[in-house]
Symmetry: C2
Subunit: 212 residues, 2 copies
């Protein structure tokens, strides 16, 4: 089976909705409900579940609890999800301090930087010198790194990470990185997102002008 990006995004969103339903005391849920919550068809919900071998009851829908357990498993929530942050400038440290992952089992265990004056063992996670990066990744078997270095350092830092065995990189540097087949890179480009918005607004205004 091929797992698409959109599929995974939906799985993540099902999980969020189901967690809320569970906290409300819901025991079962129908594909119809989940479809409404995500703004997609019930067919797609059922198809997604079928793809991952999740089955429901012909008339009773899906058990919320069992569904969550399955989703946790698929999303890898049974393993420890330890990540590191490479580049501890403003954005890097913000991400280290950002503790919104914790409730979902994701933990930033260390930061790394070239500036020796910010090395510290204080704070939510220790910050080490970049020279310790490779050994740390190997020793702690870190799979995922957030890359928050300046553009000029992005490409070679990514190479270092990949060489050390990192399997996934979330890249905040403003450059489109492409990884080898054994490392998945997701690029978050804030400048592009803002341009995207300006462009959409631009067209919306045009369309309105036409409609009038």
């Amino acid at each position: 089976m091929t797992v698409t990006h959109d599929m995974i995004r939906r799985l993540s969103r099902y999980k969020t909705v189901l967690k809320r339903l569970k906290s409300l005391g819901f025991v079962k849920v129908f594909s119809d409900n989940l479809g409404d919550a995500l703004g997609i068809s019930a067919s797609l919900v059922r198809k997604d579940f079928a793809s991952f071998g999740i089955t429901g009851n012909k008339r009773g829908g899906y058990q919320v609890e069992a569904l969550l357990v399955k989703l946790y498993e698929i999303l890898g929530k049974n393993c420890s999800q330890q990540i590191i942050v490479v580049g501890c400038g403003k954005i890097g440290t913000a991400l280290i301090d950002y503790n919104n992952f914790k409730q979902d089992g994701i933990k930033v265990v260390a930061g790394f930087d070239v500036a020796s004056d910010i090395i510290t063992t204080e704070g939510p996670a220790p910050i080490y010198d970049i020279s310790e990066l490779e050994e740390f990744i190997r020793r702690e078997q870190i799979q995922i790194a957030i890359l928050a270095v300046p553009e000029s350092a992005a490409a070679h830092t990514a190479d270092t990470l990949i060489h050390a065995g990192i399997k996934g990189i979330l890249n905040f540097a403003p450059i489109q990185l492409k990884g080898p087949s054994n490392c998945i890179i997701r690029n978050i480009n804030i400048r592009m997102e803002i341009e995207h918005l300006f462009c959409l607004i631009h067209f919306q205004e045009k369309d309105e002008a036409i409609n009038e």
Copy 2:
């Protein structure tokens, strides 16, 4: 014509590539080159350009300079692209200080926060009390805001922004916001991005196990 998200993302990437080509002294470029650079077919490049009324020469490709001018226009680079940051915690201030937009004409002109002790006129952009938000948006005709408030404040702050006339929101709060038809919201959910990576790795490992 309908402008899709993917289309805009490609326009943005064409622009990046073309800027680099220009700095290298390139005068013309073929759809084939751009396709290679973006990892798409030459057909799609030509189709994109056709959609926006950009024409080339039957044998001479496209003029780099003219193409850039057109793209700037489409991406709204002729208007001043002033944005604000609402919520000046760690991530908010990091974005205010982040000056990577500047070279692309995007400028953060103010920050807003509820905490009165961080109000300041120092730094790259002044930080005002949230009570001044609506008036500022109206007076300065701000179109786009970055939302970086805590999850609990996200929904009602977004409502305030929309009410004040904001046309686009880049949301960093970990909650999927949905806007009305006159305001476009793009959600950046870092937790989901990391889960996404873990999930992909998970499946890659499985697939490898099967192939062996």
